[in-house]
C-alpha cells in the first residue's frame, strides 16, 4: 500500500515536473524570439544611425494593445486598474489577459473576415458574412493551429461548417476566383495577374495560375431545399480547367511547381489542403507571419502583405526568416505569435517622435494606424454606454453584423484604402463624427449614459474629467487640460451640457480616432 502510494506520488510529481518544464521551454523560446526581434531591428537602426522613439508610456501601450488584440479601447475601470498597477510585468500580464478575453477571437475573426470578404458588407449577403465570421471565431477561440484552420477552410463542405462553405459561394464557386482569393489570403501571392498572361513582375505563368485553379475545378454547390443560405458543397469526380481561349486542359499543380502525384488520395481540395499544411509549402507560414506583423505594426515586413516574392523582398530578411521558423516551430500558434510580437520593445515603442519620422519599414517608432470603422464604432459605444441588449433579428445566432446601427455607421466610415497608416477620410466621415447619431448619443446630456453616470454625487469635477479622459483617450488629463476643462464646466450654467461639450471634443479629437 505504501509502495503504491509512493509510486502514485512519483508519477504525479513527474507529470507536474514535465508540465512545468514544458511551460518553461515555451517561455524560454518566446523570450529568445523577443530578444532576437529587438536585436535585429536595433542592429539595423545602429547601421542606419537611427535613434528610435522612446518606449511608450502605459496609457499609449494599453490603448494600443487593447485595440490591436480586442478591437476596442479599454473601459475606464480597466485602464485605471492598469495605470495604478505597479508590478514590473504588468504589460505582459495585460497581453496575456487580452489574449484570453472573449473579444480576442471576435476581433481576429472580424479582421480575417474582412481579408476573406473584402469590399465592405453586402447587405444581401449579410447572413453569409456572419456565417464566415462565426466559424472563424470558433477556430480562434479554440486557438486552433493556423495550418489546420486553413486546411479545414479549404475542405469545408457546408452543414455544421456553414461558415467556410459560404465563402465559396460568395466567389460563385468559380475556380479562377477561388484560386486568386485563396492564394492572396493564405499564401500571400498575387497570382491572379497570371490568369490571362505571365505575371509582369514575378515568375508566375498562366499554367501556374490555372494549375492552382484546377484544385477548385471539381467542386459545385449542392442543392439544398432548406434555402439558399444553408449552402453545401460537393466534391466531384470530374471537372477541369483550360487555358483561356484554348482547349488545353491544365492539370492541378501546387504553387511550388510540383504536380499532384497519382498516389495522392482524396479530392483535389483535400490534396491542396494537405499540401497547404505540409513543410513543402514555403508560403503559408510566411504569409501568416507577415499579416500578423502588419496587423500590429501597421505595415508588413513585406508590403503589400499579399505580394510575397523575389520581386518584393522583405525589409528585414533575417528577421522574417527567423520569425517564420519560430511560427512553424510553435505549431502555427497565432496566439503565441501575437504574444511574442506584442512583448517586443519594438511594438512597445511610442508613436511620438520629436524629430522627422523615419521610413516606416524601419519600425523605429510605432506607426499611427487608423481605427477601423468597427473599432471606432465599438469604442464609441463603449464610452457612450450600452448597446441594444437584444439585436432585433430572429436569426439563431447573435452576431453584431446584424446590428443595423453598427452597419450604417460602418458603411459611412469605412475607408477605401487598405493601408492602415493612411487616413482616407472624406466629408462623409467627418460629418459622421461631428454630427452623427452615435456622437450625439454619447455627448448630449439628455441621451448620454456616461454623462448621466458622471452626474452622480460620488464624483468631484476633477474625477468626472478624469473618467472622461480615461474612457476616451485612455489617459489622465494633463494639468493644463484639467484646469481648462474643469473651469469650462464649473463656469457653465448647464454643467452637464458643458461636460457633454468636453466629451464631444474628446471624441472628435485625432487622439481618439487613431490607434497610436
Amino acid at each position: 500500500m505504501i509502495r503504491f502510494g509512493t509510486v502514485t506520488l512519483s508519477i504525479v510529481f513527474v507529470g507536474l515536473s514535465l508540465s512545468a518544464s514544458a511551460d518553461d521551454s515555451i517561455n524560454e523560446r518566446r523570450a529568445e524570439m523577443i530578444a532576437r526581434i529587438d536585436t535585429l531591428l536595433s542592429e539595423q537602426w545602429a547601421a542606419e544611425e537611427i535613434q528610435p522613439a522612446n518606449r511608450s508610456n502605459d496609457s499609449e501601450f494599453a490603448r494600443r494593445v487593447y485595440l490591436d488584440l480586442t478591437g476596442v479601447i479599454p473601459r475606464v475601470a480597466e485602464i485605471r486598474e492598469f495605470l495604478e498597477d505597479e508590478r514590473a510585468d504588468k504589460r505582459n500580464r495585460l497581453i496575456q489577459r487580452l489574449l484570453a478575453s472573449p473579444r480576442y477571437p471576435t476581433h481576429l475573426a472580424n479582421t480575417w473576415r474582412q481579408v476573406m470578404l473584402p469590399g465592405g458588407l453586402d447587405l444581401e449577403q449579410l447572413q453569409n458574412v456572419a456565417g464566415v465570421q462565426n466559424w472563424l471565431r470558433k477556430q480562434f477561440a479554440q486557438n486552433m493551429r493556423y495550418d489546420r484552420i486553413v486546411s479545414d477552410f479549404l475542405v469545408a463542405t457546408g452543414g455544421g461548417e456553414a461558415g467556410p462553405a459560404l465563402y465559396y459561394t460568395s466567389l460563385e464557386v468559380k475556380p479562377e476566383k477561388l484560386a486568386a482569393s485563396t492564394a492572396r489570403i493564405f499564401l500571400g501571392l498575387q497570382i491572379e495577374c497570371a490568369e490571362c498572361h505571365p505575371h509582369p513582375f514575378d515568375h508566375w505563368k498562366q499554367e501556374d495560375f490555372w494549375g492552382y485553379a484546377a484544385f477548385f475545378a471539381q467542386l459545385e454547390q449542392s442543392e439544398n431545399r432548406r434555402g439558399p443560405a444553408n449552402v453545401g458543397l460537393v466534391d466531384l469526380d470530374s471537372g477541369e480547367v483550360t487555358l483561356p481561349d484554348s482547349e488545353t486542359i491544365v492539370p492541378p499543380r501546387y504553387p511550388d511547381g510540383n504536380l499532384v502525384t497519382a498516389a495522392a488520395g482524396g479530392s483535389r481540395r483535400v490534396q491542396l489542403a494537405i499540401w497547404m499544411a505540409s513543410r513543402d509549402n514555403p508560403y503559408l507560414a510566411k504569409a501568416a507571419v507577415n499579416r500578423m506583423w502588419a496587423h500590429l505594426f501597421g505595415r508588413g515586413l513585406i508590403e503589400p502583405v499579399d505580394d510575397i516574392g523575389k520581386h518584393n523582398p522583405p525589409s528585414h530578411p533575417e528577421l522574417f526568416q527567423a520569425l517564420t521558423a519560430y511560427f512553424v516551430d510553435t505549431g502555427f500558434d497565432i496566439k503565441e505569435l501575437l504574444r511574442t510580437l506584442t512583448s517586443t520593445n519594438a511594438y512597445q515603442l511610442s508613436s511620438r517622435l520629436d524629430r522627422e519620422p523615419h521610413a516606416q519599414e524601419l519600425f523605429a517608432n510605432m506607426a499611427i494606424k487608423t481605427m477601423t470603422a468597427e473599432q471606432l464604432y465599438d469604442s464609441l459605444n463603449r464610452i457612450a454606454g450600452g448597446r441594444p441588449a437584444n439585436i432585433p433579428n430572429f436569426f439563431a445566432i447573435r452576431s453584431n453584423l446584424f446590428d443595423q446601427q453598427r452597419l450604417a455607421f460602418i458603411g459611412k466610415m469605412r475607408m477605401q484604402g487598405s493601408n492602415a497608416t493612411e487616413f482616407d477620410a472624406g466629408v462623409l466621415q467627418a460629418l459622421t463624427l461631428l454630427n452623427g447619431s452615435n456622437i450625439n448619443a454619447a455627448s448630449q446630456a439628455d441621451q448620454s449614459g456616461v454623462l448621466m453616470a458622471l452626474d452622480s454625487p460620488l464624483f468631484s469635477p476633477e474625477e468626472r474629467l478624469k473618467s472622461l479622459f480615461l474612457g476616451t483617450l485612455s489617459r489622465r488629463p494633463t494639468a493644463d487640460e484639467s484646469t481648462a476643462f474643469v473651469a469650462h464646466v464649473s463656469d457653465s450654467n448647464e454643467p452637464r451640457e458643458a461636460m457633454g461639450d468636453v466629451l464631444w471634443a474628446l471624441l472628435n479629437s485625432a487622439e481618439f480616432a487613431l490607434n497610436h
Binding site: T70, V72, R75, V76, A77, E78, R80, E81, P102, R103, P105, T106, Q127, A130, G131, N134, W135, R137, K138, A141, G160, E161, A162, G163, L166, R226, G227, A229, N230, D378, R382, G385, G386, R387, A389, N390, P392, N393, F394, F395, A396, I397, R398, S399, N400, S448, G449, V450, L451, M452, A453, L454, D455, S456, P457, L458, F459, E463, S467, G471
Partner: protein, 626 residues
C-alpha cells in the same frame, strides 16, 4: 346497500378532490370554439403564377395530409381544425367590465409531468378580442352594401375601388382571370354574393384560419431541450454526459468565453456556432409523428387527437392514469366518467367544462403615436391552489412572465409588430417624402402610384375626390391596411431549445447577466437533485414558451422572440446615474462598468457580492440626503 354506499363514497371523494380556486372565480369555459390551428394563408394570384390558386383546406383530409408529410416540416403546411361559423347575429360591442364574462380561449399545455388547462382572456383595446374582427366585418359590409343594404356580389366587390387595390393587405387582382379565381376562392357557397361569414376569409387571407385567435404548436425540441442543450454541452467539458463538480466550478469561465462582444451579457444566440438560417428563436418546426405541445380545447377540437396526444405524451400510448401525470393527477378524476381511474377516449371532451389550472389575461392596444401607444401585456388572473407555490415566485414583467413547475419552466410572453404602435410617424414620414412641393397635399403629378407599399391609383386614395390627397387620407389608408392585422392574435407554443439556459436565467429576462453567470455553480448544484455532483440531463427541468403576437403573419418568426427585460428600466426609483452607469442594462453595476475608483466601488457594494445593485445605489442616495 353496499352498492349505494360505494356510489355515495365516490361522489363525496369526487367533490373533495376538485381543484380549489386560489383567487377569483375564473371565467366560464369558451362559449364557442372561435379559434383554430390555422391553415396556410391564401396565396395572391400573382404569387403563384405557375400553380393553381389554393382552395379552402379540405379538413376531412387534414389528418391524412399530415401523415404524408416529411418527418420535420414547417408548421405552415399543417392544419388541424376547421373554420368555425361567424355568429349571424349583430355582435354587441361593449367594454368588458367583468373577467368572468369575458370571452376566452382554452388550451391544454402538455408539460413534462402533466397537462395544464389554461384559459386566456384576450383583449384588444380593452374589448373582447372577438370584437375587432367583427367590427371590421361590419364596417366592410356597410361599405359595400351602402345605405340601402343591398347585397353586393363578389365580382362587384373585387371591382369596388375601396377594395380592388389590396387596401386591406389582401388580394389585388391584376387581370380578369385572377378576378375569376378570387371570386371562386372566396364565394364559398357559390351564390355569387358577399356573405357575412365569407368576408373574414377575404379580409384575413385565411391567416389564422380567419379567426380572431389561433394557436400553433411546435414540438421540435420536445424531450430534447435538455440533452441537446447548447449550454449543457458547453459546460460538460469532457462530454461524458454529466456536469461534474469541477465542471460546475468552471462554468462561469466557460460561459464568459461565449461573450463575443464582452458586454457581460449572454443570450441564447451566443451559444450557437454556425449560422442556422431560417431558424427562428422560437421553433416553428413540427415532427409529424409526435404529439403537439399545446392543444386548443373547444367545440371543434379534434378529440381523437387530444386523446392520442395525452396517451403518447404520458402513458406510452396507453390510457392515462393519475400516476402518469403527477403534476395534475386530479384531471383523471375530473374526466373519469366511468370510474375506471383512466382517461378514456370519449372522456377527454369533458376538458371543455372543468375548471382551469391557470387563467391569464393578454391585452393588446391600438395607439397611433408614442403618447397613445401602450405595449401589450400579459398577467396571471387566477390559478389553481396546486400552482400557488410556483406562482408565488413567478417572475412577472409586463410583457413576459415565467414560473417553475416540477420538471418544467413555463414562459409566457406577448409581442407585436412595432409598426402598429407609431402609425402617425409612419404616415407623416411617407407623406413628407411624396409631398415634393411641401404644400400640405399631394396632387396627381406628385403621386407615383404607390404609397405605404400599396399600389393604389390617385383616385382611390383621394377619398373625398377633391383632387388633393391630404395626410389624413394617407393615414386612413394605413389604418385600413392594418385593420386586419390588429384584429387577429396568434399564439405559438413550443419547447424552448435550451433548458439549461433557462434554468440559469434566474430572473427570467432572457439573458444571462454577470451575476447569473457567477451564480451558475450554485444553480447547477441545486439542479443536481440526488446531490451526487453529477448533473445529468434528466435532472434539468424542461422549458416551454408560449408567445402571443399581433402583426403581419409573415413576420411571425421575428415577432415570436422572447422580449428581453431590462431590470433597471422597470424601477423608476433608481437614480439616473445608476442607470447611466449600468451600460449593459442588466440591473447591476459590475466593477468593469464602474466609472470611479475601486475604493468607491467597495463603499457602494455594501453586501460585498462584487456588484453594486439598484438597492445599494438607492441606499447611497438616501444616506447622502440624510
Amino acid at each position: 346497500m353496499r352498492h349505494l354506499y360505494v356510489v355515495t363514497l365516490m361522489l363525496l371523494i369526487g367533490l373533495a378532490i376538485g381543484c380549489k380556486r386560489q383567487v377569483a372565480k375564473p371565467p366560464a369555459p369558451p362559449q364557442s370554439a372561435t379559434s383554430v390551428v390555422e391553415a396556410a394563408p391564401d396565396a395572391l394570384p400573382n404569387e403563384n403564377a405557375a400553380s393553381e390558386i389554393e382552395r379552402p383546406v379540405d379538413t376531412n383530409n387534414v389528418e391524412q395530409s399530415v401523415a404524408d408529410e416529411s418527418p420535420i416540416d414547417n408548421l405552415e403546411e399543417t392544419s388541424e381544425s376547421t373554420t368555425s361559423e361567424v355568429p349571424e347575429n349583430e355582435p354587441t360591442v361593449e367594454p368588458v367590465a367583468d373577467l368572468e364574462k369575458a370571452p376566452s380561449e382554452r388550451f391544454l399545455l402538455l408539460t413534462r409531468d402533466g397537462p395544464l388547462v389554461i384559459d386566456v382572456v384576450l383583449r384588444i383595446n380593452d374589448q373582447p378580442y372577438t370584437n375587432a374582427l367583427e367590427q371590421l366585418v361590419e364596417s366592410v359590409l356597410k361599405d359595400i352594401e351602402g345605405d340601402e343594404g343591398e347585397q353586393e356580389t363578389w365580382a362587384e366587390m373585387i371591382d369596388n375601388p375601396k377594395f380592388a387595390y389590396g387596401q386591406f393587405g389582401n388580394l389585388a387582382p391584376e387581370d380578369a382571370d385572377q378576378k375569376t379565381r378570387l371570386v371562386d376562392m372566396y364565394d364559398t357557397n357559390q351564390d355569387s354574393f358577399v356573405d357575412r361569414d365569407e368576408l373574414p376569409r377575404f379580409l384575413t387571407r385565411n391567416v389564422g384560419g380567419s379567426r380572431p385567435f389561433s394557436l400553433r404548436s411546435s414540438n421540435e425540441f420536445r424531450g430534447d431541450n435538455r440533452t441537446r442543450s447548447p449550454v449543457r454541452r458547453l459546460l460538460d467539458v469532457d462530454h461524458d454526459g454529466a456536469i461534474t463538480a469541477d465542471e460546475m466550478q468552471s462554468a462561469p469561465s466557460r460561459l464568459f468565453e461565449r461573450d463575443a462582444d464582452d458586454d457581460e451579457i449572454l443570450v441564447l444566440g451566443d451559444f450557437k456556432d454556425s449560422i442556422a438560417l431560417e431558424q427562428p428563436q422560437m421553433s416553428n418546426q413540427r415532427r409529424v409523428n409526435a404529439p403537439d405541445t399545446a392543444l386548443l380545447i373547444g367545440e371543434r377540437t379534434r378529440w381523437g387527437y387530444v386523446s392520442y396526444a395525452l396517451q403518447e405524451t404520458y402513458a406510452y400510448g396507453d390510457r392515462v392514469a393519475a400516476d402518469d401525470i403527477p403534476l395534475t393527477p386530479e384531471l383523471v378524476e375530473l374526466l373519469d366518467d366511468n370510474s375506471n381511474s383512466l382517461i378514456d377516449n370519449n372522456e377527454v371532451q369533458k376538458l371543455t367544462g372543468i375548471p382551469p389550472h391557470l387563467v391569464l389575461e393578454v391585452a393588446f392596444f391600438n395607439g397611433k403615436d408614442a403618447e397613445t401607444s401602450t405595449t401589450p401585456s400579459i398577467r396571471i388572473v387566477s390559478a389553481c391552489e396546486s400552482l400557488s407555490a410556483a406562482l408565488d415566485v413567478a417572475r412577472q414583467h409586463p410583457t413576459r412572465l415565467s414560473f417553475a413547475l416540477p420538471g418544467a419552466d413555463i414562459e409566457f410572453f406577448v409581442n407585436e409588430d412595432p409598426s402598429l404602435a407609431n402609425t402617425s410617424q409612419t404616415v407623416t414620414a411617407q407623406f413628407s417624402m411624396l409631398d415634393g412641393d411641401n404644400n400640405g397635399y399631394l396632387d396627381v403629378d406628385e403621386y407615383s402610384g404607390q404609397v405605404l407599399g400599396i399600389n393604389i391609383p390617385f383616385e382611390a386614395l383621394d377619398a373625398d375626390s377633391d383632387e388633393m390627397v391630404y395626410e389624413k387620407e394617407v393615414g386612413a389608408l394605413l389604418e385600413q391596411s392594418q385593420a386586419v392585422v390588429r384584429a387577429q392574435i396568434r399564439a405559438r407554443a413550443a419547447d424552448q431549445e435550451d433548458a439549461l439556459f433557462t434554468a440559469l436565467d434566474t430572473n427570467g429576462d432572457g439573458r444571462l447577466t454577470a451575476r447569473e453567470i457567477y451564480g451558475a455553480p450554485n444553480i447547477l448544484k441545486e439542479l443536481d437533485r440526488n446531490q451526487d455532483m453529477q448533473l445529468q440531463s434528466h435532472e434539468i427541468p424542461g422549458t416551454m414558451a408560449i408567445g402571443f403576437v399581433r402583426g403581419n403573419a409573415q413576420q411571425d418568426n421575428a415577432l415570436l422572440v422572447m422580449p428581453t427585460v431590462s431590470r433597471a428600466n422597470n424601477d423608476k426609483e433608481l437614480p439616473a446615474w445608476f442607470t447611466g452607469m449600468d451600460s449593459n442594462g442588466d440591473g447591476d453595476i459590475s466593477p468593469r462598468e464602474f466609472l470611479g475608483a475601486s475604493d468607491k466601488f467597495r463603499q457602494l457594494d455594501t453586501d460585498g457580492d462584487g456588484f453594486v445593485s439598484g438597492d445599494e445605489a438607492k441606499q447611497m442616495e438616501r444616506n447622502a440626503r440624510s
